[in-house]
Amino acid sequence: MSDPITRPTVGTPRESVDPAAVEEKREGTLPRGIDRLGERKRARLEQLAQTTADKGGVSLVRDAFRRLRRNPTAIVGASIVALFVLVAIFAPLLAPHDPAQRFDELTKNLTVDSIPGASSEFPLGSDPLGRDFLSRMIHGSRQTLFVGVFATLIGLALGVLVGAIAGAFGGWVDNILMRFTDVMLALPALLLAISLVAMASRSSQWTVILAVAIVNVPIFARLLRGSMLAQRESDHVLAARALGVKQGSIVLRHMLPNAMTAVIVQATLTLSTAILEAASLSFLGLGDPDINRAEWGLMLGVDGQRYFEVRPELAYFPAVAIIVVALGFTLLGEGMREAIDPKSRR
């Protein structure tokens, strides 16, 4: 980019500096400034040479990781995600009760228009079936993580497969596969998910996971194909080809790893949308019919909706949990994108 002196200040018009001060500074330091600039430049070059000599260069990934650690967006996102994963792992230890157990002291107070609220033993009160709502929220982190991760991983795997084949072969294979993704992308995501769920004779947690996964396949496929096509013409692939590396290992060892970064960023962002899409399916009555399953999307979409007038907390808690976790994955994904491509930083 342009050097700081000639750079137009249009982008930040409000950061104007007192012109008199600038004038004064310039007059005082200009003649020596040039001298020093040359010196400084040489010193810096030497320093740079030194660092590369010592470390043998910094890999792209390590460089990106270093930027990631300094990015507040990424840190906030990563903290939320880490907390979420920890709660999910230690859910059985954290939850005060069994999430599937119906307590007599709660069920006896259940009526059509009242669900018991907080008490000392049940801090968040009861759910519509007389189970401990807090325990269900804590265990819900597990199921939500499960749905999000598997939907994303399956979508990622299939998308990478399609995208890699298209990007590696090009030509008519690419053409056919991309027309196929066009068709899938032409359908609204939720409508596609609904159609897929309708194909199963009985809905279950896996139909939801698969439907959400397949919706994301064309997105991953397009993304990977795009970055692989960009690689095909690049110098390192040409070099590999000139060295006589086989086509298969060029694709697998030279093109794919370099093209994967964008896909991994997308996967992080997809974790957030997958959780939201699963919640939408539950809201439409296409979720997991297992009443013992504690998953936030299910809790929000089914009980939260049905008992919103009676006890809105049944919707608020899972909704806030989903929003925070979705936000966490989004922030982390955005941070990763900025770290890999600093130009995208705004």
Binding site: V10, L190, S195, A198, G285, A326
Partner: protein, 335 residues
């Protein structure tokens, strides 16, 4: 330009043919198959055989596909399983409601999103910018059906500003001309009906607008930031052009191209969102129809037509968006 149009039209046709083939395969692979969907699980073998013959399912698969395509092209989607009415009629009744809702949502999203994105870019790093970034992140992280219930709870239960559901109050006498209630009221000069319909429209439209709004703010902001650093903007400022001229001619006109693309791509999100929003506000459009045709016994003829219609709307809107580039950006015309 003509060549671009022709190529895009061909691509559109290919996409739609591919989609019709997928829908055909989808219909054939539904649990129990279409015969069971029509007759239910407990039909006698004789009735099954009769229906299989009547539907032509005993013929070779390619012949079946040919007939299927023939019916699609002549607009014959069969009858709804639920109501027995022709599918085209069922969809025709619900279509204007969703278009009205989606158009209102898009007007809100563009009307708020572009100025907000522009202001955020111009005040980059300041409070307004940070707030708009936080707002967009929240907007894409919130399940919109939950937002719908929340808005409904606040504005119809706590403060009675808006009606909780439906498109028009019972007792309001409105004349149906186009099916767009607000427009109908204006056309027939029944301004109280138009006002009532508009009053019903606001909350659902706001709910549906959240995701497109968030996306439009982000894209506008990023795109304006790109343009702000261009030499021609600096030149325009150096020439002492009026702020308004720079904003309109130099910044927005150049920054709007990616925004317009995004608006086209948001049609899909609008249709997804409509399914959820319409359910919250009992809106009675295509979204409600989609919901009803899966939850209350699966109404495959309707669902099939809805899938094809949604894809058609999406590809046509995006084609129009691509063509509109020529008007926004003369450089595209030359190419």
């Amino acid at each position: 330009m003509l060549r671009v149009i022709v190529r895009r039209l061909l691509q559109l046709v290919v996409t739609l043919i591919g989609l019709s083939a997928l829908v055909f395969i989808w219909l054939r692979n539904l649990p129990g198959g279409p015969v069971e969907a029509l007759l239910g699980e407990r039909a006698t073998p004789e009735r099954r055989a009769l229906l299989i013959k009547a539907l032509g399912y005993d013929q070779p698969i390619l012949v079946q596909y040919g007939k299927f395509m023939q019916r699609l092209l002549t607009g014959d989607f069969g009858n709804s399983i639920r109501s027995g009415d022709p599918v085209t009629e069922v969809i025709g009744r619900a279509f204007p409601a969703t278009i009205e809702l989606a158009a209102a949502a898009m007007i809100i999203a563009i009307g708020l999103g572009v100025p907000l994105g522009y202001l955020a870019a111009r005040h980059r790093g300041r409070l307004l910018d940070n707030m708009s970034i936080a707002g967009t992140l929240l907007g894409i992280s919130i399940p919109i059906f939950f937002l719908g219930y929340l808005l409904k709870d606040v504005f119809t239960q706590n403060i009675h500003w808006f009606p909780p559901s439906g498109r028009i109050s019972t007792g309001v006498d409105n004349t149906d001309v186009t099916g767009f209630f607000v427009l109908d009221g204006l056309l027939t000069r029944e301004f109280d009906a138009a006002g009532d319909a508009l009053w019903h429209l606001i909350l659902p439209a706001l709910t549906l607008a959240t995701i497109p709004l968030a996306v439009i703010v982000r894209i506008t902001r990023a795109s304006v930031l790109d343009v702000l650093n261009e030499d021609y903007v600096r030149t325009a400022e150096a020439k002492g052009l009026r702020h308004k001229t720079i904003r309109g001619r130099h910044i927005l006109r150049n920054a709007l191209l990616p925004v317009v693309t995004t608006i086209g791509l948001q049609t899909g999100a609008l249709l997804s969102g409509a399914v959820l929003t319409e359910r919250v506000y009992n809106w009675g459009g295509l979204g409600t129809l989609i919901y009803n045709s899966i939850s209350g016994g699966r109404d495959y003829p309707v669902l099939q037509a809805l899938i094809l219609l949604a894809a058609l709307v999406f590809v046509v809107v995006n084609l129009l968006v691509d063509l509109s580039y020529a008007f926004i950006d003369p450089r595209v015309r030359v190419r």
